[in-house]
Structures are given as C-alpha cells and as structure tokens.
Symmetry: C2
Subunit: 549 residues, 2 copies
C-alpha cells in the first residue's frame, strides 16, 4: 500500500470513543479538502497516463497495462483487449492457495496492491493482498521472459489499494518471507490493473490497522472518525475483516442453538403505529398519512407471535433508538437478537435457554474463529472471556448484598448504574471466576410495563439482566399475559394504551404464559472481544451524529 | 373451538386480494363494535364466575378450576394453589408425543381448547391443540376417579382457544379417531384453565382455515381483512403455521448454501442520508435534525461492503417501499434476501450462484417441509413447482422473439409487463418444462443507474430477472464499479449525486468488478407455494392501508 502520511497526518488521537467530538462543520471542511485533493489527483493521473511509456515491441507491451472498461463489462469476446486475451480459459487462484506444493506452476491471481516497493529500473516488488492473505510478486526485466523495462515501470506506478491481476510462476523464496502471509513468491509474467485506486487515499490501511502499542511507540494511527468516514477503506484492516466474520459466526451459533431447541425464526414489522413501547426515544415518520414510528424492539410483535401459537420464536433484525446517547455502547440503529417463548410455570425456563445459549456461542467462536480472534488481538489485545459451562445465576438482592459488603451502597429498589455494574462484575469474577452471569428478580420500578411482577412481592419482577465483562448485555423477563394487568401496568407507566390496543387485545384471545429476552449483536461481539467501542462492531454505525456513510 | 357464527358472519368474500377495499371508517366502526362486544362478554364472564358451582367435597374440587394469576407469576411455592400443587414435580408432554406406545401412563399436557363438545351432565369431550397437533380429552363423572359432575361442568364452560392444562391417562380409543391428529385419547383426571379466551372471538380459527372449495360448498369462511385484523388468531390455522415454518426454512437453506460458498452474512443500515436509490417511493424522516430515509434496499451499502473487501456478502433484512401499490405482490415493508459478490470477468458468475441457490432451496423445502407443504395444500391447493436441476438461462432478446412467434408484441428496449411476463412463463414452461428460469441482458433503460451496460451494445445491460411461475421474483446485475461512469449514469437517471456521494466515492479507493441480486423472502414463499397474495406470507403485513396490528 502506498504510504503517504501527509494525507492522513499521524494523529495523536488514539482510536477511541472520540466519535462525538467532531462537529459537522469540521466534517464539511474535511470533505471539501478531500474533494480538492481528489480533483488534483485525477489531473495527475490523467497526466501520467498520457505521458505514454516509451516505445517497445508489440509482444512485450501486451503483457501489462490497464484493463479497459469494455473488457470488464462482461464481454464474451476474447479479443476485446490485452487482459481479456491473457485470462481467456484461465481460472483465478486465491492468494491463500499459493503454497510451496504448487511451486513451479503458473497461476493467475487477483489482489489489491498492499505495498509497492520499487528497487531499480529493472526490479520491483509488489505485495498483493486478498481476503487478508498476502503474497509477494517480483517483476524482473528479462528479454527471455518477455518482461520489459516498461513493464517494471508500469508495476511501479500502481497505486496502493488498486486491484491487479497477475499471471506468474510460483517460486520458493531464497529466504523465509516475513512481510507476507504466503511463503512463496510470484515471478510476474503479466500484470494488468483491473481497477485503479486514487494515488492519495483519505485513509491509509496500515495506519488504520495500527495497534495502540505501536501508536504509543510513535507510529502513525488514524482516529476513529477518519476511519468511520472512510469505512470502505477501514474495513480492509485485518482486525475489521475478523470482526465481521465473528459477527457472522455469532449469528450462525445463535441460530444453530435455537433451531435445535425448536425455535422458529420470524420477522416482525419495524414500521409500527403509535409510539412503540413508549418514551420519547423513537424515530417518527408519516406512513401514508398516519403517524408511525420505527420499532424500538420487536417486543410487542414477538409476543403477538407467541399469541399466534408460534410457541418459540427468535428474530435477528434492526432495532431503532433515537436516544441522544453519546457513549461507547449505544447506537441509534443496531441488530437485535430477540427470543420469545411460551413457558410452563417459571421464568427460569427462559434463563435456562440464555444460560445455555451463550456458553454455546462463546465455545463455537473459540472453536471456529481462532484465526479471527488472533487478528483482533493483534490490534486490540484482550484476554479470553471467562465463563462457566453452567451459567451462574444470582438474585438481584444478593448482588446488592455483595456490593454492600464491598462497601458500595446501591438502592435495592433501583437500577444499577454502569459503574456499580462494573464493580459487581469484579466481585462476581473474584468470587465465582466468571465474567458471564445472570442477575435476576430486578426491582419492578426499573423494568418495562410488560414485565411480570413477582408473586410474593410486586416490588420485584420476574426479570433478569445478563452481564459480560461487567457490562449489561441482555435483558429478559416473564411477560404479563393477563390483559387487565397489562393494561393497568401500561397506564401506571404513563403509556397511551390506545396506541397499543392491538397488542393488549392479543392477550384476550387466549395467551400462554411466556417470556423472552433481547440482546444487541454488536454488544455481544464488542464484549466478547473486549473492544472499547460499539462503533467497531457495526459495519456502518449510526449514532446521533453519524448517518453516513 | 367455540363456533359462534354470529360474531363473524359467514362471509361471501373469499380470502383474496380484497385487502385494499376496506376503508379506515369501516375499520373504526368494526373496532367500536368489537369493543362493545368485548365489554358485554367481560360482564357475562364475571357473572358466570360469581355464580359459583354447587358445593362438593374438597378433594374433588381441587382437581379443576382456573389457575390464579399468582400461581402463574413463577411462584416457587408449591402450595400457592390447586394447579401449582397438581403440577409440582411434573413435566409437560407435547401433544405430538401422545402415541399408542405410552397408553396407560399418566401425562400432563397443555393446549388450547380446539373444540368443546358437551354430551351430557356426566360426559364431555374437549379437543386440545398444541403446535398443530390435536388430541381428544374425555371427562367422565366418576366417584372412584374423583371426577365430579362439577368438574364436567367446568370443562364444558371452557371457551375455545383458552389454554388448558390436563392431567390424565393415555388410553386407546375403541374406534379410530378421525377428528384429531393423535390416535390416543386422554382420560381426564384434573383440568385447569391456565388462560381464558373471550367467549366470543372476532375470528374463528376453523373459518380462517377453510379451503376455497369448502367455502364454495357453503361453509363459512373469513375475509382477508378480518383475518389480518386479527392476525394473532389467524396465525393459528394449520396453513399459516406451515407458511411461517416454510419461511424459516427458506432462510435456513439460503444461508446454508451461501455460507458453504464463502459468503458472509452482513447487516447494513436502514437509516440513510439522502434519498436512497432515488425516486419518490421512500419513507422520509428526520434523523437528529438531518433529513433521512429508510433504505429501499441494501444496494448501496452491500456494494460498499464489497469495496471494504468482504468479497462475498449476503443480507437478510427489512426493505422499505413507500409505493402506493395495491397489488397481490407488493408490500411497504418486506424482508430482502440480498447477495453481492466480487466477480472475475463475467456477470454469469452471479447467475451461476442464483441458478444453483434456488434449486437448492426448493429441493431442501421439499425434503424438510413435506408436512408443512401438505398443510398449505389442504387449504390452498397448488401444484409442486417445476424446476430444472441446472437452471435455464435465456437472453432477453430471445424471450422477445418467443413472444413474437406466439403473437405477442413486446418492446425489445422496454420492460415486460406482468401479463407479458406470465405469457412468457407459459411459453417457457411448454418449451423447457420449467417454471423457474433466468432472463438476462435486459434493456438498460429499464434498469437502475448502477447497472453495468453491455460491452457490445449499451442499449442492453449485464442484468437479469428470475421468474417463478411466470412472476418476476429476483433482480440482479453486474454493477458499475467505475466511479466516473457511475456518476454519469446517476445524473442521466436524474439522481442528485450529492446525496450518494459517499457511495460513489467508495469506488475511488479501489473497487473490484462485482454484481449481485435481491429477492423478497415473502415472494419466494408465495410463489413456491402458489399462493395468491403476498399478505399470506408476511407475519404482520404492511401495505399502504395497513400499519396494524
């Protein structure tokens, strides 16, 4: 990758929660600057291209060059151009497949220019990157192999992040290679630029991939906003490639477990009448002349699915929160993993599912994503999550007592704040050696209106939160399935019951006792990997200040 | 189930596309009527409960009754009530598990009152339904078994759709049972009403489950709006239970195939700046002071994920269309199954994935969902979909020619209308014996701005549509990855390029040739099962007139 620090000046800001610091004005200014820079670069590139390379014989000049757009428009004509002719009848080999066993064979590979290191007018090295794997390509001027000086020149001017097709021979290197993942080199015979990146990028992948330790040691980093503003470049770092593979695997394991337990995957509407579950933090819009909002969670509809006899359901879908939360753990749009199930007699049936599901997910991640976890750890060091095969469950009152004994006062009928939650997590870790546990029987006052109060004391409720590394990640509960009590609680919570009439009425047509829970996908990934900001685990994050890219 | 036709008068309207006919005024009137009816019912029920059953000895009276709310609040106290005591230490058996092999054993089951047929003061039959399975429960007055006349009376007054717990003995019936799925009966020892449904429901499950043929023969049906207004009841029909299991299985197979081909599941934001892909049909909202809209598809962001080196991605997520389309095949919110992938040289690489993926899904559905398909067929008869193991691919121009030869004129540079599409589907079926095929090389004028034109003729594009049973279901194409051409095409399509600047800029930092496709989950289920309305395959459908339940 080309490394021009003047574009992205070495920032003293570390990649942290500084997301909210940058104002819109600064963003505009930065955009204008980039636009100007881009125009200049386009002019330079055009100039470069017209300054044609010196004359050479026809046959060697066909071995390199820019692929024309016509050739890339899926032309069926093998004579459409140099590249099209060169790749006719050939298959591409993945960079990961370039191993010692195939030394001597000719391959066609496609990758991005990761680094481009000219040595002389007759020798050049380009490292190509594909799917996180890298291989060194060597081009040496040679009459015999039809490699001209101009081809070396062509290779040298390739900008970082450009897509290149190389046809070459796999050779064993003289010395072990330290700069690439693959332990073979490619002796380049032909090279074509499939798509050219700007010479000067607004973000340097190497800077974005820098660890905190390296930045501390003086190497250039990139601040979080620059990274997020240029997410399509930022996503190319090894850690980011790994994060989104892990996110995918969390869902795979989530589904695998629940489907095996008889759950059905459903999709509930996000466009809903009224005001979702109440509160001001909803995005409102006009729906064909009716007031509508975006669902704050699939809560109401997943319960209605239970009333519709789907018995055990789950959903993976977008959740919208219009809250002005500028923390490391809040997003305005995120992916909710939601579960709802009929129960026979106790909300422990729901906690049993949670308590089995997450250790299952964690175990599968460790088994299936060891390379990805390693890639993340390299940039963001973290300790593996400590969890028990049988999940620890602690009553809320016991948690309060543990805190009290440690000298921390907490309201036994109130909620725990983030700091106290962290403290409790520490105490639990010391006492039980786990960073994953369930705290249940929460005070009723701090739970939503649809939460079932405890039978013996209505100040408490049949509800629970689940913690990872001291942070609340999952909320769950038994729900009120009795329409009169539900209505009464909704009124007590200040909710306009007319706006949730269809929901309340659902319980008049026969409803089973039921419960469920919800968890944010991005938080699971963030806390499992010990990351410090949820924006790192959302592909294109949305927060109160960020609606793009 | 109680069957009171006066509540839902036998409708002459068949379950069809009449969704759009009912006005809001009529809906309000109906709601008021239901509210009044509900209040009357509540009064009647209260009266019924206070008119206490005649005295009987204490021990037999503990064998039946309404479960109190306290007992259902997850109480740990086994003495909290009659029901709580009766179920202590017992496990529930699923109705599907009630088979001849366990005759003689005592079981605890939970189900809805499906039908309630009193015979005499000493004998009653109740059919319980759970997960689509039904079993007959017989209660016979007997001193010896501690079953009182009052218990028979209690059983008789249970309303349809109420949830009931029965403890009883599995017995073999004297004659084969025709009215239930299970071929054993339960001799009731204890019966408790867990949750009582209104005596008179706004929709009768049996009416909602009626086939067209039965309705034609004079049996009561239920019109589509009544069904959708009372979706939590409507969902309980065998066909609906099956439809949402099949929907789940479409996704399972979709993921299974794509994950095996190296695709990664991603989530793109639905809240986006600007106006999505252009056009008026977007839902607009205010996002923290900025104008925003709901994404019409994940198009722009899934392409950006490709620019971010995720290489092969797919998404299962909500898609929003504010179009005033009142057809059998349009929804304002639906689930998009989207795929995007880097390609090497031809958009046929994308068609190859489509052409393999869908036969894979169809085959898996037939293998895994035969019972569900049977349940749907019972209410909505349909012929199995005809498809080839290797998907047929026809150029657009050839389709036009086939139509011409059949006497149908169609503009070779225009789009096909629904009628012509159906006609072509018929011709293809006759010629190739398949109802699933790909039509490609569409005229450029009828495709979105990001579609790559053909190399040899820019009037045509590297795009395709896929048809099932003569209806277009999937659209796909190679995309323009060249930023200048992309910008030029956007302008030509009248799109304000400023609103999609981050998207266009994504291609300046090195972008591979790529393509993809999108399909609506609801349409796949609808057309595979030959259903006549997409509202049947959406859990809680949203159309221009429907924002609830």
């Amino acid at each position: 990758m080309s490394s021009e620090p003047e574009i992205q000046p070495p920032s003293t800001e570390t990649p942290d929660e500084s997301g909210e610091k940058i104002s819109k004005k600064a963003a505009k200014k930065e955009a204008a600057k980039l636009e100007k820079m881009r125009r200049r670069q386009e002019q330079e590139e055009a100039a470069r291209k017209t300054a044609s390379l010196s004359l050479e014989d026809e046959s060697s000049s066909r071995n390199y060059g820019d692929v024309t757009l016509t050739e890339l428009q899926s032309t069926a004509d093998p004579k459409a151009g140099k590249w099209r002719e060169a790749v006719e009848g050939k298959e591409w080999t993945n960079v990961s497949e370039l191993v010692e066993e195939i030394a001597g064979s000719e391959v066609l590979i496609r990758g991005r220019v990761h680094t481009n290191r000219p040595v002389s007018s007759k020798l050049g090295f380009v490292i190509l990157r594909q799917s996180g794997f890298t291989v060194q390509c060597v081009v040496t001027e040679s009459k015999e192999r039809n490699v001209s000086v101009n081809m070396v020149k062509f290779l040298k001017q390739l900008s970082g992040e450009s897509f290149v097709d190389v046809i070459g021979v796999v050779v064993l290197p003289k010395e072990p290679l330290t700069g690439t993942t693959q332990q073979v080199e490619i002796q380049v015979r032909k090279v074509y630029c499939v798509n050219s990146a700007l010479q000067k990028l607004p973000l340097n992948v190497e800077d974005a991939a820098r660890s905190e330790a390296d930045i501390q040691a003086g190497k250039p980093g990139a601040n979080q906003d620059t990274r997020l503003n240029n997410r399509v470049i930022d996503l190319r770092t090894p850690a980011n490639q790994a994060i989104f593979r892990i996110q995918c695997h969390v869902q795979i394991a989530f589904r695998e477990f629940l489907l095996s337990k008889g759950f059905l995957e459903i999709h509930t509407p996000k466009l809903i009448a009224g005001s979702s579950e109440g509160g001001a933090a909803v995005f409102r819009l006009e729906y064909k002349g009716q007031p509508a909002c975006l669902a704050q969670s699939p809560q109401l509809h997943k319960q209605m699915a239970i009333c519709g006899d789907l018995e055990r359901v789950f959903e993976v879908g977008a959740v919208y929160r219009a809250e002005d939360s500028f923390t490391h753990r809040h997003l305005c749009e995120f992916i909710g993993l939601d579960v709802e199930m009929a129960i026979h007699k106790h909300y422990s049936e729901v906690m049993d599912i949670v308590g089995e599901l997450f250790p299952f997910i964690f175990t599968k991640l460790e088994e299936r994503c060891s390379k990805e976890l390693e890639a993340i750890r390299k940039q963001y060091p973290f300790q593996p999550l400590k969890f028990l095969p049988k999940t620890l469950t602690i009553p809320f009152a016991e948690g309060i007592q543990m805190l009290k004994e440690a000298g921390v006062e907490a309201d036994p009928l109130g909620d725990l704040n983030t700091e106290v939650e962290r403290k409790l997590g520490q105490l639990v870790l010391e006492k039980y050696n786990t960073e994953f546990y369930i705290l249940h029987r929460y005070p009723s006052a701090v739970r939503p209106f649809y939460t079932m109060p405890c039978a013996d004391d209505s100040n408490y409720s049949n509800s629970f939160d689940v913690f990872i590394r001291g942070e609340e990640i999952i909320s769950g509960a038994q729900r009120v399935h009795d329409p009169e009590l539900l209505k009464e609680q909704a009124i007590r919570f200040g909710i306009d019951v007319d706006t949730i009439k269809t929901y309340i009425d659902s319980f008049r047509y026969g409803a089973p006792p039921h419960g469920g829970f919800g968890v944010g996908l991005e938080r699971v990934v963030m806390l499992f990997c010990g990351l410090n900001n949820i924006r790192k685990t959302s592909l294109f994050p949305r927060d109160p200040l960020r609606l793009a890219p």
